[in-house]
Assembly symmetry: C2
């Protein structure tokens, strides 16, 4: 992008989607190696028995609401607003529970580049 290119901007708490049956993912920033997503959850836990196991490193911060993550070693992690978690690639985890109107930011960074 050329020097001085216009900077995009917005507010992470603005324009929240209407309550729905699914979490809502929105990309706020992306380049070839990483992306930042806003995720709005309306009480959407991971389905029973479902585990995330991703090829990318992920860093998430909960900006509003509460949630509980579970890890496959049995650990649980209760999150409140402002709490962040670093989830290395292949770290199996699931969202055990999440409040209404939870707002997350997730940073995904490719893990396969030197």
């Amino acid at each position: 992008m050329k020097a001085g290119a216009a900077a995009l901007s917005g507010n992470v708490h603005a324009d929240l989607p209407a309550h729905g049956a699914e979490e809502v993912f929105e990309t706020l920033f992306a380049n070839s190696v990483c992306r930042v997503e806003r995720i709005v959850s309306f009480g959407h836990a991971s389905p029973p028995g479902f585990w995330y196991e991703q090829a990318e490193d992920e860093w998430v911060v909960l900006l509003a609401g509460t949630a509980e993550l579970a890890f496959d070693d049995g650990r649980r992690l209760a999150l409140r607003a402002g709490d962040w978690v670093s989830l290395p690639a292949h770290c199996r985890h699931r969202v055990e529970s999440v409040s209404q109107d939870a707002v997350w930011l997730a940073v995904h960074g490719r893990a396969d580049l030197a």
Copy 2:
């Protein structure tokens, strides 16, 4: 990192540094292509005439406080809590003003990889 590796965690509003003469930068996550930093500012504007012009793409969100960014085309951007800005590599900008106890998250992603 091996599967099931422990996930690091913390809170972006916790353990704020004591007020000081300089902004305080803390890396919350980093891999080979991107990193997430917490920046705590105590009213530290950019020095007169100083412009950031970075080789990396940057995405920032102001989590607490207020700030004003300036761009070299004369534009100003007032920020309040929750506001985010995407700053492409080489987008010249400066922090014109910032409140006490401002907390930023900055995501830096390498721009030189295909």
